[in-house]
Amino acid sequence: MNWIAAALIGGSLLLPPFLAGDFYINLASQILIAAIFALSLNLLVGFGGMTSLGHASYLGVAAYISALVTSRYGFGHGTAAIISISGTVAMAAFFGVIALRATGLGFLMITLALSQVLWGLAYRMSNVTNGDNGITGLTRPAPFGISLDNPVSFYWFALIVATIAFLAITVFVSSAFGSSLKGVRDQPRRMAALGFNPRLIRWITFVYAGFWGGVSGLLYVYYHKYIHPTSLSITSSAEALLGVIAGGAGTLGGPAVGAALVLLLKNYASAYLERWNMLLGLVFLFIVLVMPAGIVPGFSRLTAALRGKSP
């Protein structure tokens, strides 16, 4: 049954370029980018038990590095992507050492503080980041000579990267290391007594999540061809966290569903409501009350109940 659902979802992801106009194709591309970002955050929140409010750091820094390296120093997109991802991973490695000195609320506050520092720097270091004006005039890459400037080709590109991200993260959390990670999330003391090094397991996951956060940042800057300090803001981190929790933390499909929900609300509701965040809050409240584990686990339970068996 799960395979049928996966095939249906996979098949439906192939449809937008054939059925929808540019607006919807662009929206679908944005959902894919948000989904990669949410999947990377879910590694921390859902599988590692590390609730972070600073994950936008990796998206924003990767985007800024790519923007600077291409626009200011004239590097090609390939080199820029390598520099950008390497820089982001190095930053995640450093931030991980600091943040993982604490757990729970302490961890959350450290990640928030670190991201706020970056957000402040993006505003203040205007000689580098162009401050509140952001960096404009960026271009999209053309892998294998295929221009990504039209919505359809960009959508295919984003879909390929999102598929790779989904598969890579699925393999990661299903592996022996993934079992250790889930064990450390649930019973760190017991896992340490069994011979596992909880802090190193968390740190590796933190860096890996930073890597995929960086990948989503690259797609983000390619899509918008513009980068602004808001990409590093707490709002950016909180929206992703909201998506992960709403979709179902610790599930593989949940964060993508949650990210899509947040993005759709943002795009549609903001056209009609000035305070669209209020609607987002109400929807979130509804989900938490009706399906406390999130949309995907909630629907799994519902379908299992309708079929007359426990999930």
Binding site: S179, Q187, A193, L194, N197
Partner: protein, 247 residues
């Protein structure tokens, strides 16, 4: 290898102004069965937590097979052959019995770091986990989640996880607590069958059962060692009767 399996030298641990273990020293020889007794609040579990690395002592030294492990984290102690069970069961309730035991086996193998293959890729781990479950009489429940099994069975799974690691030294924290008479008898037989290559240190309140398993006994009270020595000597000691046996 000769020499003691475990040496605890002048161990002190205080929480604020309350000293829970004070100048605790004991030597456990290879293959020995040591029973640690004492009234509630005597510092027995705190002593275990310091030996396993869950708590860091304020002062003193812990040696495992001659090597100083006082400042080693718990996972490094586990890799040196120290396993333990907990007074409060800490299994993974949503996972199967086999998975719980497999995690214990994975913890001591380099494959715990690999990020490509699931645990099912290692049939030897699954086979060994099932052997360990068979040894505690729970093979038929191997595929059930922990949440489905009874308390006494969970105690046996705890033991299976620890024994699957083939420890050189095993710390058992009240392995008989909360068990029925039949279950006590089963777990007692299990503990008695642990090979002598494994040194066993055990905290237990059920003296009738536990004394049969012990070579030596240490009595703790208010965080201090009161009496320490051969089982019969400690049991016969006036101070043991006064502090613990109440006769």
């Amino acid at each position: 290898m000769t020499g003691p399996a475990l040496e605890v030298i002048g161990l002190r641990k205080a929480f604020g102004g309350l000293a829970v273990t004070q100048d605790v020293s004991l030597v456990v020889q290879l293959g020995e069965r040591r029973l640690i007794i004492g009234p509630n609040g005597a510092g027995k579990t705190t002593l275990f937590n310091q030996i396993s690395g869950d708590l860091r002592p304020n002062s003193g030294q812990i040696k495992l097979f001659g090597a100083d492990i006082t400042r080693l984290p718990p996972y490094k102690r586990a890799q040196r052959g120290l396993s333990r069970t907990y007074q409060i069961i800490t299994l993974f309730a949503g996972d199967t019995l086999e998975h719980n035991v497999s995690l214990g086996l994975l913890g001591l193998r380099p494959s715990r770091w690999q990020t490509c293959w699931p645990m099912s890729h290692y049939p030897d781990i699954a086979a060994e986990a099932r052997r360990a479950l068979d040894a505690v009489g729970l093979l038929q429940l191997a595929d059930h989640p922990i949440s489905d099994i009874a308390y006494g069975e969970r105690r046996r799974v705890e033991l299976a996880v620890a024994l699957a690691q083939r420890p050189r030294i095993l710390l058992l924290d009240e392995p008989l607590a909360g068990l029925s008479n039949v279950e006590r008898s089963t777990v007692k037989t299990l503990i008695a069958s642990i090979p002598r290559e494994t040194t066993v240190v055990m905290i237990e309140h059920d003296m009738d059962t536990a004394l049969d398993l012990a070579d030596t006994v240490t009595l703790l009270n208010y965080g201090r060692v009161i009496v320490d020595g051969a089982r019969d000597v400690v049991v016969a000691d006036e101070r043991t009767r006064e502090v613990y046996l109440g006769t």
